[in-house]
């Protein structure tokens, strides 16, 4: 047995906590030491997680790096960890984004630095645990722990309406997850009835036969918890508030990683545990995803606040992820997984960029800017590159994700693909319109004349993101190769028998019949 690398990765961030607590929070030196410790810790975590990258065997469809220990034996609860082709990338995304985020807080967070950095590290542990847990109970524990530091980050270091936003974030998520907890117990109960063994082990629970009604109900509860997190239309309204009020670092983590918990939850739990329930809701979820894509884009277009614009664009982007996941074609699912990573990079980068001007001007309103391309050329160039990635320009990561998702969707559901593809046009509209109003034209606000361009530290944390944007765009196979087998396994787990699918297709047709006449596509 090798070293328990996953456990090391999960708990390594906590190792920094006692050191941080030991440092007195006095003056700039003390604060910088605290920040330094957090940064070094998170970089160490990233380096350790690279070990996972090198040891990962893409040819294995199941889980790797398995660790399994009894935890609460009387209830069959285990401390069980493992990775497959999806969680592998999400874990790396987490360990990659965290140090960049911590680096971005150097100037932005100046009060209660100690508490903030501790929250960040605890949050990292919780996020990593959520992605690695293969025991439903353990997963639930990490999932809930994650809420606390995030709640604090929004509620303590946030903007004016931070309390409202933090409470909203917490309640929204908690409501969904409580129902999920009930259904986890229900699932375990059914499993015990059939096999006589009480276990929370995900791998054993896969394939549990559940009465159809219960399967649908259980799926609905799981889906609600995850759909809130994604967030899917119409459960998204916590997101703009949380983003606008959260400090930059909070937004980056929130958009970059926390939202992926939702899609990850569908991929890992809701869909493979309850394929019948999933199939039952497929028409609804595809419809909501498509609505989310278009709705998010339209609402983003008219936002006066850059951060809110980016927040709504997340609703649109995550709609693609859900669509790709639900069409259950290889292209769709792999595109969806890639798009999760892409969104973490591009939207994370956008939030970082918004944070950079916010630190200088303390406003995020588009109309406060205008014509700043001449004043801050490096910033403008990087902003444009990230914009291109966000609108899916070929050679950047966004294109590969969107292309695969739409290609995959087109095979299964042409109408959904066509409607979703309009989001690509709208994406260009809202992003470029914003870019035009912020960067081009004459400098309208004299306060911007003295705006400082990005400094060395800021370039340092943006550069890795830029590299990844093009890396994924030019060599996507590097990333996709790791997930082929896992995705194939996922599809075979989730696809229900043909007969069932047909009835759902009929439902889907009935559901979308009204719109069908509008778009004319030749059937193959």
């Amino acid at each position: 047995m090798n070293a328990p690398i996953l456990t090391y990765t999960i708990f390594l961030p906590l190792l920094g906590v006692p050191f941080i607590l030991a440092v007195p929070q006095k003056g700039d030196v003390g604060k910088n030491v605290i920040r330094g410790i957090a940064l070094v810790t998170s970089i160490l975590v990233f380096l350790v997680s690279l070990r996972i990258y090198f040891d990962f065997d893409a040819s294995i469809g199941g889980f790797q790096f398995l660790e399994d220990h009894q935890w609460i034996s009387s209830y069959g609860i285990h401390y069980k960890l493992g990775l497959d082709g999806l969680s592998f990338w999400l874990v790396l995304l987490t360990t990659f984004l965290t140090p960049l985020t911590i680096l971005s807080t150097w100037r932005a967070i100046d009060k209660r630095v100690k508490e903030f950095q501790v929250s960040m590290l605890v949050l990292e542990t919780a996020m990593l645990g959520t992605f690695m847990a293969l025991d439903l109970f353990l997963f639930y524990v990490f999932w809930e722990i994650m809420l606390i530091p995030m709640y604090l980050i929004i509620g303590v270091w946030g903007g004016e309406r931070r309390i409202y936003a933090a409470v909203k974030f917490f309640l929204y998520t908690a409501v969904g997850s409580l129902l999920m907890l009930v259904c986890i117990i229900g699932l375990v109960y059914f499993h015990q009835q059939q096999t006589g063994v009480m276990t929370f082990d995900l791998l054993k629970l896969y394939g549990t036969k559940i009465p159809r009604l219960y399967e649908i109900l259980f799926f609905a509860a799981f889906a609600l918890a995850f759909a809130i997190k994604v967030p899917m239309f119409p459960l998204h309204t916590w997101l703009p508030d949380a983003h606008v009020e959260a400090p930059t670092a909070g937004s980056v983590i929130l958009a970059g990683i926390l939202l992926k918990m939702g899609t990850y939850g569908f991929f890992r739990f809701a869909m493979p545990l309850f394929p019948q329930g999933s199939a039952f809701f497929t028409p609804l979820i595809i419809t909501l995803s498509v609505i989310g894509i278009i709705y998010g884009a339209l609402v983003a277009m008219v936002q006066p606040d850059i951060k809110k614009l980016v927040a709504y664009s997340s609703v649109s982007h995550l709609g693609y992820c859900m669509l790709g996941l639900y069409v259950l074609t290889r292209q769709g699912v792999e595109g969806s997984v890639l798009q999760m990573i892409n969104h973490g990079i591009s939207t994370g980068a956008l939030f970082l960029l918004v944070g950079i001007v916010y630190e200088r001007r303390h406003t995020r309103l588009i109309k406060e800017y205008g014509g700043i391309a001449r004043i801050v050329p490096i910033y403008s160039t990087i902003f444009l590159i990230v914009t291109l990635s966000s609108i899916g320009f070929p050679t950047t990561n966004g294109f590969i994700g969107e292309f695969l998702i739409l290609l995959g969707a087109f095979k299964v559901n042409k109408l959904a693909a066509v409607l979703a593809a309009t989001g690509v046009i709208l994406g260009a509209v809202y992003m470029l319109w914003m870019v035009q109003r912020v960067f081009y034209g004459e400098v309208t606000n004299p306060k911007n004349l003295t705006l400082k361009d990005m400094n060395f530290r800021e370039v340092v944390y943006m550069l890795p993101l830029i590299v990844l944007i093009f890396w994924i765009g030019l060599f996507p196979n590097f990333f996709l190769d790791k997930m082929h087998t896992s995705v194939d396994k996922f599809i075979s787990q989730v696809k229900v028998e043909r007969t069932d699918l047909n009835s759902h297709h009929q439902m889907a047709r009935a559901f979308l019949k009204n719109h069908e006449t509008k778009v004319v596509i030749a059937k193959e």
Binding site: K168, Y172, P234, T237, W238, Y295, L298, V299, M301, V302, Q303, T329, R330, Q331, E334, G335, G371, A373, R374, L388, F393, P394, T395, F399, I400, F403, L404, L406, L407, F410, K411, A417, V418, A421, T422, V424, I425, A428, V429, L432, W433, Q436, F439, Y440, G441, E442, L474, F475, P476, N477, L480, H484, I521, A522, K523, E524
Partner: protein, 659 residues
């Protein structure tokens, strides 16, 4: 030799990187050197590959190179690969050749600009993406180039971004192109799920095979759908109805950009794409009819819009839209090689026209209004002469280049094999539009170069001929505007001079061979009798001469009063045409504003009021109110609690007593 194909895009890419990253610190001389030589090298490599290609047997003239596996998921397997056949060879020669001349010209035109380095970085980036578009061996690589040139176009239209209108024009171009790309992408999806590949060398043979084996009928719905969806992309990129609206606004960019991107190369990408996809289009005659029909309408309407423009670049912009229409007529009536022929000659004479207009604008200190010009011929003889040659070429007078290519297209339209009667209509409208073209182009020449100077004194002082790095490209392009047409001399005329071969048609033959066979095997190829061909040819010459004479009469003979009088007499028509049929305004009302207000509605009403107000804060409010109500019960007064106890006690006693 195929191992060197990658060098063609590589050089401009390096130029882009060097100028883009370090250009700010480099001197203008070095920037110019890097900017121009990289394109020059690409041109040289193209010439060497061309020589090699000619040494091969015609049917073996296909070179491919694969750089790396790009995207492989399930059945999808896309490579970053290049393909050179006579079609992409010709295109890349035009792109790098004309591109090089325009880069050289730019060193003069842009010399005084403070963002000189940024200009050359963008221009090199454009050539890089354009060469990907042309050389790609599959539709996805073409799409990369396709969107990439759109980005370069966006950046260069908005090059002087401090003028917000320029930035808006750039954004408009990008967004309108995105609408087209939406269609292109859907076309790719349908193609992939039909043929299981996006690679040219997989799709076309497969389609042919399916057609020959009877699995795919002529004009099958799938084929028509694929072709029409791809054509939506072409209407965006190549500025056809209904998506042409971005191109006139695109003139906000520097003039050499208009010449290179918005006239000679990028906007012809749609024509190239249709020609590249010729086998699929030939299998879908309905799609061809749509292409030819839209092209014909575009050629005509854009020509009418060009008639009344006063901005010298706007005239040329509408003329570009119109000429692109001719190219699409060519490919639409299955005369693919003629479409490409016109693409090439147009690249020469339109680049020349734009660069000449740039020279004029330079001399006029940035003024583009032709009403302020006049009599410039004496001050700038080289510009005048070269522009005259290019104008003669676009007007379709022999022996200039435009005559041969335009005539080939109209002649082929006359015998459109799938829809002969529609072909006649297209020929007629096309010929009329050609007359209008000759009219507005000579209007431009007369207003700009003849008569008296109408600008300010200051401008008059400043008038000068441009420096050599600007005029030499003009002269070269003017020469090409004459001899370029001789590459495709029709058989009829060739006979007169002792069997001059049609070099271009022969060169391109292998690419379009299959399409010609399909046409021959299904409806048969019709040949026009010689007498009819002569009369068609003379008709177009006569029409052109009528157009020129009319322009001469209105703007030279009665130049002082007649244009004004006509404008007053036909005030309504004048206004409608002058305002480009109000198409921009109609789009604004039909699409832009509704979407904008819908979005506001979604945000304020659906999101903020319904979902968040009622759905989310509603329950919270309810809980709060309920709690406030029940809180009254727990108010801390002993009397209240005592009363509750009493009520409870009595109730229990009663319950037991009267049970």
């Amino acid at each position: 030799m195929e191992n060197y194909i990658y060098l063609i895009p590589l050089f401009p890419f390096l130029g882009f990187l060097i100028n883009g990253l370090f250009g700010k610190k480099l001197g203008k001389g070095i920037i110019s050197f890097i900017g121009c030589t990289t394109i020059g090298f690409s041109f040289l490599v193209s010439v060497f590959i061309w020589k090699y290609l000619l040494s091969l047997e015609p049917e073996h003239r296909v070179l491919t190179q694969v750089l790396w596996k790009w995207l492989a998921v399930g059945k999808l397997n896309v490579e970053v690969g290049f393909l050179i056949d006579p079609l992409s060879m010709l295109m890349i020669l035009v792109v790098t050749g004309v591109g090089f001349l325009i880069h050289v010209y730019s060193t003069g035109y842009m010399w005084d600009d403070e963002s000189y380095w940024r200009y050359f970085a963008y221009l090199n980036m454009f050539v890089f993406f354009m060469s990907l578009l042309v050389l790609g061996s599959n539709y996805l690589v073409m799409f990369v180039g396709w969107e990439g040139v759109g980005l370069a176009s966006y950046l260069l239209i908005g090059f002087w971004y401090q003028g917000i209108d320029n930035a808006i024009a750039g954004k408009k171009a990008f967004v309108v192109n995105r609408i087209g790309d939406f269609g292109f992408a859907l076309g790719m999806f349908l193609m992939f799920w039909t043929f299981g590949s996006l690679s040219y060398l997989d799709v076309f043979p497969k389609a042919l095979h399916m057609f020959e084996s009877g699995a795919l009928a002529l004009n099958s719905p799938v084929m028509v759908a694929i072709c029409l969806l791809l054509f939506i992309g072409a209407t965006g990129k190549s500025a056809q109805i209904p998506l042409y609206i971005w191109l006139p606004d695109a003139m906000a960019g520097p003039t050499p950009v208009s010449a290179l991107i918005h006239a000679a190369t990028m906007v012809t990408a749609g024509v190239y794409m249709v020609a590249r996809t010729n086998i699929l289009y030939t299998l879908a005659p309905t799609a061809l009819l749509v292409v030819a029909g839209i092209a014909c309408a575009t050629a005509f309407f854009a020509a009418t819009m060009g008639v009344l423009q006063n901005d010298i670049k706007k005239v040329l912009a509408y003329s570009t839209v119109s000429q692109l229409g001719y190219m699409f007529i060519g490919v639409g009536v299955t005369a693919y090689w003629a479409g490409i022929f016109h693409l090439m000659t147009h690249a020469f004479f339109k680049a020349c026209l734009f660069l000449c207009s740039g020279s004029v604008i330079h001399a006029m200190s940035g003024d583009q209004d032709m009403r302020h010009m006049g009599g410039l011929a004496k001050k700038m003889p080289i510009t005048y002469l070269t522009m005259l040659i290019a104008t003669l070429a676009i007007s379709g007078l022999p022996p200039f280049a435009g005559f041969f290519s335009k005539d080939e297209i109209l002649g082929k339209a006359f015998v459109f094999p799938f829809y002969p009667s529609a072909g006649k209509v297209i020929w007629f409208i096309g010929t009329v539009a050609a007359g209008i073209t000759a009219f507005y182009m000579f209007r431009l020449i007369f207003m700009t170069f003849h008569g008296e100077f109408r600008g300010t004194e200051e401008q008059r002082h400043h008038l000068h001929e441009s420096p050599a790095n600007m005029t030499v490209p003009l002269v070269i392009l003017a020469i090409l505007s004459i001899v370029g047409g001789w590459l495709g001399i029709p058989h009829l005329i060739g006979k007169l001079f002792g069997h001059v071969p049609n070099l271009l048609e022969t060169f391109l033959e292998p690419v379009f061979e299959h399409s010609n066979n399909i046409v021959a095997s299904t409806v048969g190829i019709h040949h026009v009798p010689e007498a009819a061909e002569w009369s068609l040819m003379s008709t177009s010459v006569v029409v052109a001469i009528i157009g020129i004479s009319l322009a001469f009469y209105i703007y030279m003979v009665h130049g002082k009063e007649l244009p004004k009088k006509l404008a007053e007499k036909y005030a309504f028509h004048y206004q409608v045409i002058y305002n480009k049929y109000y198409v921009d305004e109609i789009y604004e009302v039909l699409f832009v504003l509704p979407i904008y207000y819908l979005s506001i509605l979604l945000w304020k009403v659906v999101d903020a009021f319904m979902i968040d107000g009622i759905g989310v804060n509603g329950p919270a409010w309810l809980v709060k109110k309920t709690s406030a109500g029940t809180r009254l019960v727990q108010n801390g007064y002993v009397q209240t609690y005592g009363a509750f106890m009493l009520v409870g006690l009595v109730s229990i006693v009663c319950f037991f007593l009267y049970r």
